[in-house]
């Protein structure tokens, strides 16, 4: 009833191009931001932060990154885990080499380094497409994990081969290490997520986003109207890897604290993020959030339902989770290839007409 464009007249192109054209959506967005920044930090505890909020925030950044590459530019990538590892290890090297520099800068630099690595591994995309490109990025995944396992310089020659996040701070607040509070960690990741989403939205609605989508939809026509395919694909790889690198750095430094590369950034991670954007919705920023939330919440919900309420053994519930995720992927690919984001759009279309659909 109140979810309408009617009476909300757009008188400039700026207003017409805004992210939430319907007033109600806009208020909802401000409301969510206010709750996330103003209310959640006061009620957060370690369980909520570690089981749900931190993984959601961090995976959402990774999903935004992969969505830019796969959803917007149409280049399938299975190297997300490897690029997250680049972010994590470059963050680790920066943290240990420059202990006095703010974590903000470390994480951003880690993203920048990952962007460069992403561009290098994006070069084959100029020649190969589709499945073959997926296999090429798979090679990046295995190569990067192998590299971080084998070259001791990356983990500072530690005996275990792991990397451990030392205690680092931002403006005097401890963000990483065992003494960091969950509130600080949550807010730190939240700031990165909000900034990433804003930047991703800005890029995808402007010229560069249109060149990516043009390459995705029809590369020959894109070239004929002046899109340089080399530039378009490599910027997509760079921007995508930048976000993935940031998420990798946060995943290691803020969330896990200690990382063994094969375990934390293996091929399963690549698939997990890919599933997030497939279930959430390809080519949609909101879809990245929805997919990340869904796949982070699903195991938790299943555990609460299966173990705590029904009293089933833990291992059965864990296996159930694999079955359900697999089934959902197939269902989404068949029934709704545009994912949760499309369901959301359809729901909004309906809501706009409700309660008089004719």
């Amino acid at each position: 009833m109140f979810y309408r464009e009617a009476g909300d007249f757009k008188t400039s192109y700026v207003e017409d191009g805004q992210t939430f054209p319907i007033r109600f959506d806009r208020y909802r967005y401000y409301f969510v931001l206010a709750v996330a920044f103003g209310i959640v930090p006061f009620f957060i505890n370690d369980y909520w932060a570690n089981a749900i909020l931190l993984p959601f925030l961090i995976y959402a950044i990774a999903a935004i990154g992969l969505n830019i590459l796969t959803g917007y530019c149409g280049q399938v990538s299975l190297g997300t885990g490897g690029f997250m590892a680049v972010g994590a290890y470059s963050c680790y090297k920066l943290m240990t080499a420059f202990p006095d520099v703010s974590m903000f800068i470390h994480v951003l630099l880690a993203g920048g380094i990952t962007a460069l690595v992403g561009v290098v591994f994006g070069l084959p995309s100029l020649r190969i497409k589709g499945f073959y490109l997926a296999v090429a990025t798979l090679a990046a995944q295995f190569f990067l994990v192998w590299l971080f396992n084998r070259v001791a310089w990356f983990y500072n020659y530690s005996a275990s081969g792991q990397i451990n996040a030392p205690e680092r701070e931002v403006f005097g607040i401890i963000i990483t290490g065992p003494n960091a509070t969950s509130t600080a960690a949550y807010l730190f990741c939240l700031i990165f997520l909000v900034a990433s989403a804003l930047v991703a939205r800005n890029l995808t609605r402007g010229t560069i986003g249109r060149t990516w989508m043009a390459i995705r939809d029809m590369d020959i026509a894109a070239e004929i109207i002046g899109v340089n395919p080399l530039r378009a694909k490599l910027t997509a790889f760079a921007v995508s890897s930048f976000f993935v690198g940031i998420s990798g750095a946060l995943f290691f430094a803020v969330y896990l604290g200690a990382v063994e590369v094969g375990e934390a950034f293996g091929i399963q991670k690549s698939f997990l993020v890919l599933f997030m954007i497939i279930i959430g919705g390809l080519g949609s920023i909101f879809g990245s959030f929805a997919g990340a939330a869904f796949l982070v919440l699903l195991p938790v919900a299943l555990k609460v339902f299966g173990v705590d309420i029904m009293g089933w053994p833990t291992d059965i519930v864990a296996h159930f989770q694999l079955v359900i995720v697999g089934g959902l992927i197939i269902l989404f690919l068949i029934l709704e290839p545009h994912g949760l984001a499309q369901l959301w759009r359809v729901a909004k279309e309906k809501l706009r007409l409700w309660p008089f659909p004719h």
Binding site: V14, V199, N202, T207, A214, D217, I220, I224
Partner: protein
């Protein structure tokens, strides 16, 4: 009537300028097949130039040579008084040559407005950083300025009511019009139309003809088009090139071409003894 440098005035009073594009002895081969054999012709500023010929005559190949998809084995393409070095299609687009395709090549996943805005690409140059910051980087200002031009073209082609519709949902005739809009959005110096009226009914053809004439008249855009409908070609174009089996068999005003014996033979068929 034809002055080499000065151009001429058409019967309906439009002024045609000097030569914009000149094809000099173009030969294009695919392996053993000769698609274009030693063809030369010019396109003058402000005129509507048609390339006609039976199926397989090499018309589309010619257009692909102009837009940079094919590189001819022999011959030169002169654009605005200078020979054009070998270029990628996107560089040709940046020089101010836009085109449409015989089989529509729109971006199906994007809205009509986004498709037209993509056509503005060669005119927009906000860097990645500026775009990431949007309002604070100045990208929004550029977007709005270009949106205004895109909207003018949308108005001009009378597709306002579908501007936010995804292209995949549109019928064929409208898709053709959106494709023309996208090409026009680049404000091209030379517009190439590959069978703009293929598969249309009479009414849609009339609409499209009117748009082509209006574009030429109002924006002064030079147009080169390929078309099969002889009536349309003879009515629209100022000069016509006729191709057959990769060779040029006629070149001149519609009336000259119509009375050319080779052209009549090619179209009506003649026994090759």
């Amino acid at each position: 009537m034809l002055d080499q440098t000065e151009g001429y005035i058409t019967e309906d009073g439009r002024k045609i300028g000097g030569v914009v594009m000149e094809m000099k002895n173009i030969t294009l081969r695919f392996g053993g097949v000769v698609a274009i054999k030693d063809i030369s012709f010019d396109i003058r500023e402000g005129e509507i130039r048609a390339i006609i010929g039976p199926n397989g005559a090499g018309k589309s190949s010619m257009l692909n040579v102009i837009s940079g998809f094919y590189v001819p084995q022999e011959g030169e393409v002169w654009f605005r008084g200078a020979p054009r070095p070998q270029m990628k299609p996107y560089q040709v687009a940046q020089q101010g040559i836009a085109r449409t395709f015989q089989n529509i090549a729109l971006f199906e996943g994007m809205s009509v407005l986004d498709n037209v805005m993509t056509g503005r690409l060669t005119q927009m140059d906000a860097s990645l950083w500026k775009q990431a910051l949007w309002k604070w980087g100045g990208a929004e200002k550029e977007e709005v300025a270009n949106r205004e031009i895109a909207e003018k073209i949308i108005d001009f082609l009378e597709i306002q009511n579908i501007r936010k519709t995804p292209v995949a949902r549109l019928p064929y005739g409208l898709k053709k019009r959106v494709e023309l809009a996208r090409a026009l959005a680049a404000e091209p110096k030379l517009l190439l139309l590959d069978e703009p009226m293929a598969g249309m009914n009479v009414e849609e053809k009339e609409d499209m003809s009117r748009f082509i004439l209006d574009v030429n008249d109002e924006f002064g855009t030079t147009i080169a088009l390929i078309e099969h409908d002889m009536g349309v070609v003879m009515d629209l174009s100022d000069r016509v090139v006729v191709m057959d089996y990769g060779k040029k068999i006629g070149d001149g005003t519609p009336d000259e071409v119509r009375s050319n014996q080779d052209v009549i033979d090619a179209y009506l068929g003649v026994s090759h003894d």
